[in-house]
C-alpha cells in the first residue's frame, strides 16, 4: 500500500468556533465545517507526516476505531477535502509552500 502525504492549502482561512473547525476557501469563498476526526487530520496535514501515521497516532489514539477502517475513511476524507481545494495530496512529502494553491476562478 503506497502512503499519502497531505498538506493544508495556503488559500484557506480557519478558526475554531465553539469547538468546531470552520474553514473558508479564499478561492471561491466556500465555507466548510469539519467533524472532529476531519479536524484532527486537517490540523496534522503538514505535508511531511504520512497519512498512515496521522491515522495511527492522531485518529486511532483518540477515537474508537480500527486502523484499517480509519485509514480507509481518512483516504476518502482527504480526497474529498482535496476536491474542495482545501488540502493537497501527494505520493511524496510536500515541501512547505508547494502545491497548496488550487486554481483560481472568476467571480
Amino acid at each position: 500500500m503506497s502512503d499519502k502525504y497531505i498538506a493544508r492549502s495556503k488559500a484557506v482561512a480557519a478558526r475554531v468556533l465553539g469547538g468546531e473547525m470552520m474553514i473558508m476557501s479564499a478561492v471561491d469563498s466556500r465555507l466548510f465545517s469539519l467533524s472532529d476526526v476531519a479536524t484532527v487530520i486537517w490540523e496534522a496535514a503538514d505535508g511531511r507526516t504520512p497519512l498512515s501515521e496521522i491515522v495511527t497516532k492522531r485518529v486511532c489514539a483518540h477515537f474508537d476505531v480500527s486502523a484499517d477502517v480509519a485509514y480507509r475513511d481518512a483516504e476518502q476524507l482527504v480526497e474529498d477535502l482535496a476536491s474542495r481545494g482545501i488540502l493537497s495530496i501527494s505520493a511524496q512529502p510536500i515541501p512547505e509552500g508547494v502545491a497548496e494553491h488550487p486554481a483560481a476562478e472568476a467571480p
Binding site: S9, K10, A11, V12, A13, A14, R15, V16, L17, G18, E20, M22, M24, A26, V27, S29, L31, F32, S33, H101, A103, A104, E105, A106, P107
Partner: protein, 368 residues
C-alpha cells in the same frame, strides 16, 4: 439556514467577535473629496503592536479580518502584516485604492491567500475619478492594478461611492467591473468625518436622485421586493438587534482605539492599555451598545420601517443619539417605499431640518 448564517448565530450566542476591521494607517496617497479621515499620523501602532494585536484577535475568535486605512500599502510593513495575519489563518480582505499595486504586489497577495481586494473606483473617466482622489493618473494606475489582481485570479470588488460628482457614471463603472471580472458595489452613503465635521456631506446626492438607483434592478435585484412597503412589526422584530456592530464585529483604529464599527466612532477602549479581549468583554460602551434592542430605539421602535430599515446605529450616534434615527437611513427608507419615516416626522415637528453631529475626539493620551 446557510452555514454562514449558522456561523454568525453561533458567534452571537458565544459572544465571539467573528469579524474585525483594522485600519493600519490613516495616511493616504489620495485626498478623496468625501473622505472621513484625518490623514496625519498621530502615533500608529507599531509592527510589533499590530502582530500582538493580531494574536489577540485570533485568540478571541476573529475569523474575518479586514485590513484597510487610509491606504493600507502606505505602511512599509503592510505585506509583513498581511503575511502575519494569514499565518494566523484569518480570512483577509484588503481595502485599498490599489495605486501602489504592481505585478509583484499582485503576485504576493495571491500567494498569501488574500480572500478579496476591495478597490475604490469613482468613475470610468479619469477626469472624474482623479478629481475625486486629487491624485492625477490615479484611475489609470488603479485600473491597471485591478487587471493585475484579476490576472492572478484574485477576487476584486470595485467599490463605488455615489456622490454628486460621479452620479452619472455608476452604470459605466458597473460595466467596467463586469468587463474586468470584478464584483461591483455602489454605496450611496457619504459619512461625516470622524472628528464630527459634516462638510463632506455636501457630496451626498439628493434623496430625490437616490430613487433611480433604488429602482435599478442591476443594483438592487428584485425592485418590487426591495421597494416594497414595510410589513407590520411584531414582537420578534422589536426584540431584534440593530446590527452586528459590537455584537460579532468591531473596528480598531491605527492608534489602537476599539469602536463597535468604523462608522460608529464610540471609543470602547484602547489595545495599548488593555487586552483586546478585556475591552471586548467588559467595555461599558460595548455593553451599552449590546443592550440595545429595536424596541429600545426612541423613535425608530414606533416606525413602520423598523423591520426593514437599514438604520446605522453609528450614523445615529454621530447625529447625537445611538438610540435615535439616522437621517440618511430614514431618507433611504422613504425613497425606497415612498412612506415617511417616524424620524422624518419627528424632525419635521421639532423644526430641525439638518441633524447636529456630535464631536468625536480621539483618545487624549494618543494624540501627538
Amino acid at each position: 439556514m446557510s452555514l454562514m448564517q449558522e456561523l454568525a448565530g453561533k458567534a452571537l450566542d458565544l459572544g465571539v467577535p467573528l469579524s474585525a476591521h483594522l485600519d493600519v494607517t490613516y495616511r493616504c496617497n489620495e485626498r478623496c473629496e468625501h473622505c472621513y479621515l484625518d490623514h496625519d499620523d498621530h502615533g500608529e501602532l507599531t509592527t510589533a503592536e499590530i502582530k500582538d494585536l493580531l494574536h489577540q484577535l485570533a485568540d478571541a475568535g476573529v475569523f474575518f479580518l479586514t485590513l484597510s486605512g487610509g491606504e493600507v500599502l502606505m505602511r512599509r510593513d503592510a505585506f509583513e502584516i498581511i503575511e502575519y495575519a494569514r499565518s494566523l489563518m484569518f480570512n483577509v480582505k484588503l481595502k485599498t485604492n490599489a495605486v501602489m499595486i504592481r505585478e509583484q504586489e499582485a503576485q504576493r497577495l495571491r500567494a498569501l491567500g488574500v480572500e478579496q481586494v476591495q478597490i475604490s473606483v469613482y468613475s470610468h473617466r479619469p477626469e472624474v475619478h482623479d478629481a475625486v482622489t486629487k491624485l492625477p493618473g490615479s484611475l489609470k494606475r488603479t485600473l491597471a492594478a485591478v487587471r493585475l489582481l484579476r490576472a492572478q485570479g484574485l477576487r476584486v470588488n470595485l467599490a463605488n461611492v455615489l456622490m454628486r460628482s460621479n452620479r452619472d457614471d455608476t452604470a459605466s463603472v458597473q460595466a467596467l467591473a463586469k468587463e474586468i471580472g470584478a464584483h461591483y458595489t455602489l454605496d450611496p452613503t457619504v459619512t461625516p468625518m470622524m472628528d464630527g465635521n459634516t462638510s463632506v456631506l455636501r457630496h451626498r446626492v439628493d434623496a430625490s436622485e437616490l430613487s433611480s438607483y433604488f429602482h435599478d434592478p442591476s443594483l438592487v435585484g428584485d425592485v418590487e421586493s426591495f421597494c416594497a412597503p414595510p410589513t407590520p412589526v411584531d414582537e420578534d422584530v422589536l426584540e431584534g438587534l440593530p446590527c452586528s456592530a459590537g455584537h460579532t464585529s468591531c473596528y480598531i483604529t491605527p492608534y489602537g482605539d476599539v469602536y463597535p464599527c468604523v462608522q460608529f466612532p464610540l471609543t470602547c477602549g484602547n489595545v495599548r492599555r488593555e487586552k483586546f479581549i478585556d475591552i471586548w468583554r467588559h467595555s461599558p460602551q460595548l455593553n451599552e451598545v449590546r443592550a440595545i434592542r429595536l424596541k429600545n430605539l426612541t423613535t425608530c421602535s414606533s416606525c413602520t420601517h423598523a423591520g426593514s430599515c437599514t438604520r446605522c446605529p453609528g450614523l445615529a450616534y454621530m447625529e447625537g443619539n445611538m438610540r435615535g434615527p439616522s437621517s440618511a437611513d430614514c431618507e433611504k427608507s422613504y425613497v425606497r417605499t415612498g412612506i415617511v419615516t417616524a424620524g422624518m416626522k419627528a424632525r419635521k415637528s421639532s423644526g430641525s431640518a439638518a441633524p447636529g453631529l456630535v464631536q468625536i475626539a480621539p483618545a487624549p493620551s494618543l494624540t501627538a
